[in-house]
């Protein structure tokens, strides 16, 4: 096996022992005297809201930047002046949410980047190919070592990133929300892999917001809040309620709000829609005012492409989209906004926000064509400032300074800026693409409350999500997509996890037949 792990001495001394770690960034205390210890063969979950200090902590552990204070012991030795290279050399291997892959290189080239097998400066291509193939086989990933990374889906890029972390000697593996873009099956594979690594005495630090994963995997959980260590609990004895309460500092009883659906007339009517790239085939679907229409499906089933096409971001080959009964030919984003359609992209950094620009400019960007904000090409800044200020007040942006660059915000606050866009103009159709990816429980609650308010105001809301519990709980009617087609439409009592999974399965069966 290629995952080469040195067997640790069988002692109770922790593999990693941090105490009193503090880190400041230009006056902000990101970490304040945090303690953390990880034993060999243990999976230790870091739990906390966005901005609680989880990212900073794993960056300190993987050598991205040094801590200002505190002691850092790894494998019984005091570690100073850690760099990312040295961290990897001593067996600390991080998998970050933001990928460290070179898009223009192949999977194999990325796996070996910086530690290529070579003789006298000449690459040993054969050996690397063999090792890469063996590793991917070992991990059970469906991944072509020769494929260029930029041609891969996000899920496959995630697999590449994990494989890269496991190449070579690993004693401590850090996983930052690794399942965010994996399918159920790939997640299952990852969990099996984690179990094997634990048996081999590898320590794991695992960052996740998903309770189910924490239940399935964790030995211990450390809760962080506002850069401080709140408590470390035994996963076996802690309840979900305990964890959430410790994380937020308040009690949260129900995650999903009770949404009173009152379906009105059909607002979005999709007939026989097929996309130019074939990701969506002959789809029929409608969404009514006053209800949430859910679209569930695995990663890559075409559900995102479908809503992107309705908004005008994917070229349509065949079929009709009707908005409020009128056919909508050749949609573009600009036209869609004029017709009252808003789209919230899954990837807020790539498609949603200009990170270098302030919150105010990002929030008003979709509405500047209105007379309210600009006349004859000249901006009305007073109107803009007061409108965005009021919206951010309503969305409880903290701190409420709308002149800060969006790049300085946490995931939850970034999502609020996106939501704020919807309030800057009159809209009647809202397309949410993976609305809760990368945001914490507190921010999720606010997003759900936002959707509830939209539905109550009579809007048509379409939610696309890979998180089954989310779409099941939010939607009034649920479409299930599979391989670019609608596999089922579920309503009322039929809307269950079993039925959704069954409809994937049924498709597989008919295809096989």
């Amino acid at each position: 096996m290629d995952i080469d792990t040195t067997t640790p001495p069988p002692t109770d001394a922790p593999l990693l022992a941090l105490s009193g770690i503090s880190k400041r960034f230009t006056g902000v205390k990101a970490l304040d005297g945090v303690d953390l210890d990880v034993k060999a063969g243990e999976l230790h979950v870091l739990f906390g809201e966005n901005g609680a200090g989880k990212s900073t902590l794993i960056n300190v552990i993987s050598g991205t930047f040094p801590p200002d204070e505190g002691s850092f012991r790894f494998g019984g030795e005091e570690i100073r002046h850690l760099t990312p290279q040295r961290a990897r050399a001593i067996g600390i291997s991080p998998v970050f949410q933001e990928f460290s892959l070179v898009p223009s290189l192949t999977v194999e080239e990325n796996l070996f980047l910086g530690r290529e097998a070579s003789v006298g400066g000449v690459l040993r291509a054969g050996e690397m190919r063999r090792r890469a193939a063996a590793l991917i086989e070992e991990l059970g990933f469906d991944l072509d070592p020769g494929a260029r990374v930029d041609r891969l889906s996000r899920a496959h890029q995630q697999m590449t990133e994990i494989a890269k972390a496991l190449l070579g000697k690993v004693r401590l593996l850090i996983l930052d929300e690794p399942t965010a873009s994996l399918t159920e099956r790939e997640t299952g594979r990852l969990f099996e892999l984690i179990a094997r690594l634990k048996d081999q005495g590898v320590g794991l630090i695992y960052v996740s917001h998903r309770m189910r994963e924490i239940r399935a995997l964790a030995d211990r959980v450390t809760v962080l809040r506002d850069g401080r260590h709140i408590r470390t609990l035994d996963a076996a004895t802690a309840t979900d309620g305990d964890l959430v309460e410790l994380m937020t500092g308040r009690r949260i009883d129900v995650l999903f709000p009770e949404i009173p659906h009152a379906p009105g007339k059909v607002v979005v009517d999709v007939e026989n829609l097929t996309l130019a790239d074939g990701t969506v085939k002959e789809v029929n679907l409608y969404a009514r005012a006053g209800e949430i229409t859910g679209i569930a499906g695995l990663v890559g089933c075409g559900k995102s492409e479908l809503v992107r096409a309705i908004y005008g971001l994917e070229p349509v080959a065949d079929g009709t989209v009707r908005i409020h009964g009128t056919p909508y030919e050749a949609p573009t984003a600009r036209q869609s906004l004029k017709r009252g359609i808003a789209y919230f992209p899954a990837n807020r950094v790539a498609e949603g926000l200009a990170l270098s620009r302030p919150i105010r400019e990002n929030a008003s960007l979709t509405a500047l064509d209105l007379d309210r904000f600009a006349r004859f090409g000249v901006l009305r800044q007073g109107a803009e400032r007061s409108a965005v200020g009021a919206i951010m007040e309503r969305l409880k942006l903290r701190p409420p300074n709308i002149e800060r660059p969006v790049g300085a915000l946490s995931g939850g606050n970034r999502q609020k800026v996106m939501l704020g866009r919807a309030l800057t103009r009159e809209l009647s159709v809202f397309l949410f693409d993976e609305p809760s990816v990368g945001i914490d429980v507190g921010a999720k609650l606010e997003v759900y409350a936002f959707m509830k308010a939209l539905v109550e105001a009579g809007a048509a809301v379409i939610v696309v999500s890979s998180e089954l519990p989310e779409v099941l709980a939010l939607s009034n009617r649920l479409y299930v997509m599979h391989h670019g087609r609608v596999a089922a439409e579920l309503t009322g009592a039929d809307k269950t996890e079993q039925n959704v999974l069954a409809s994937f399965f049924r498709e597989e069966m008919t295809e096989a037949a």
Binding site: G27, V28, K29, L355, S356, L379, G407
Partner: protein, 350 residues
């Protein structure tokens, strides 16, 4: 993000030299980051030169500095807009030359055809010169926006082509025969002791500040440079605005060409050139325009144009070999970008 963050962004001490010297390190760094290194360098340079060479603050030299700053500011404003949108315009120097020879030629021809009608000749020449700049900008913009060729390559191509056309028109000989009024009453005229070019530059600068801060065009240029995909999703028509930035850059370069022509008194294919192009990029970059796009303010760019002009002037006065001067320019430009990157890393997200 922790709730304490607001405190750091909102509470920078008022900018006085006193607080710069006495404040604790994090504060002085914050202050320096807010006003930038540029004013400090500028003041140091002016003070140093005033102390070493009395010629420096003589009226002739100051007028010279202001005039050259004016030319560079106008070109750099256009360049800055292109870079903020995420592009690059290497053709500005060539456009200066083209506008010069085109306007001079049209003026001369019109004046020969209609003797005595100086006003008509001037108008026709100015229109032709500005039109030439707009045309080059349009070609640049369309290639970048529609054909998706990188701005660097497109403008490298048009730079070469434009220089060629300018040389063909003149055959390398200056074009004379412009209306006297254009040269005497405009190019070399002074108003309240300042050359017309300075007023033109101030006007352009004021207009550009307005465009950047108060118009949809300015806002969309920031958004496109900040994140083009997000701008598309937000319903911004990217292509139109990209073409707009290149046309604006072409127009402003052409305006500089006209001002230079009026001052020199003849149309010359040697005006502008690589040096002007390099300086305009340097002025933009030193003035805080990010090569990653989305960041930059023209008023700081103007300040950096002033700095670069004074630096060149100082090197002349100190009798430093003119062949060595581009070395200084290159070194300063690289240092400015390095400082910018350093600042970005310090501000890395928590």
């Amino acid at each position: 993000m922790t709730p304490t963050t607001g405190a750091t962004t909102g509470t920078t001490a008022p900018g006085t030299a006193h607080s710069l010297a006495s404040a604790a390190r994090p504060h002085s760094l914050g202050l320096l980051r807010r006003i930038g290194f540029l004013p400090v360098l500028l003041v140091a340079l002016v003070a140093g030169m005033a102390a070493t060479d009395p010629q420096f603050y003589g009226p002739i030299n100051i007028l010279n500095i202001l005039r050259n700053t004016a030319f560079l500011t106008i070109v750099a404003c256009g360049q800055a807009m292109v870079i903020i949108a995420g592009g690059f315009d290497l053709s500005v120097g060539a456009v200066v030359a083209l506008a010069s020879v085109v306007s001079a030629k049209v003026m001369a021809v019109t004046l020969a055809a209609f003797p005595g009608s100086e006003g008509l000749a001037t108008a026709a020449g100015v229109a032709a010169g500005l039109g030439a700049g707009l045309a080059v900008g349009l070609v640049n913009g369309l290639c970048v926006a529609r054909l998706k060729v990188s701005g660097f390559i497109v403008t490298l191509g048009t730079m070469s082509a434009t220089t060629g056309v300018a040389l063909m028109i003149t055959s390398g000989i200056p074009v004379y025969g412009m209306p006297q009024g254009f040269v005497k009453e405009f190019g070399r005229a002074q108003f309240l002791g300042l050359p017309t070019a300075v007023y033109a530059a101030l006007l352009v600068l004021a207009l550009m500040v307005f465009i950047q801060r108060r118009t949809l065009f300015g806002r969309y240029v920031y958004a496109i440079g900040g994140n083009a995909d997000a701008a598309v999703v937000s319903g911004v028509s990217i292509n139109r605005h990209l073409v707009g930035t290149y046309m604006l850059s072409g127009l402003l370069a052409a305006l500089t060409g006209l001002l230079l022509t009026a001052q020199v008194g003849s149309g010359q294919a040697s005006l502008g050139g690589d040096r002007m192009m390099l300086q305009s990029i340097a002025a933009a970059v030193i003035g805080g325009v990010s090569l990653r796009g989305g960041i930059g303010r023209v008023e700081i760019v103007a300040l950096s144009a002033l700095f670069l002009t004074i630096l060149g002037n100082a090197l002349n006065l100190l009798h430093i070999d003119s062949r060595l001067q581009p070395v200084f320019l290159g070194a300063i430009m690289v240092a400015a970008v390095a400082l910018d990157e350093l600042g970005r890393r310090r501000n890395a997200r928590v």
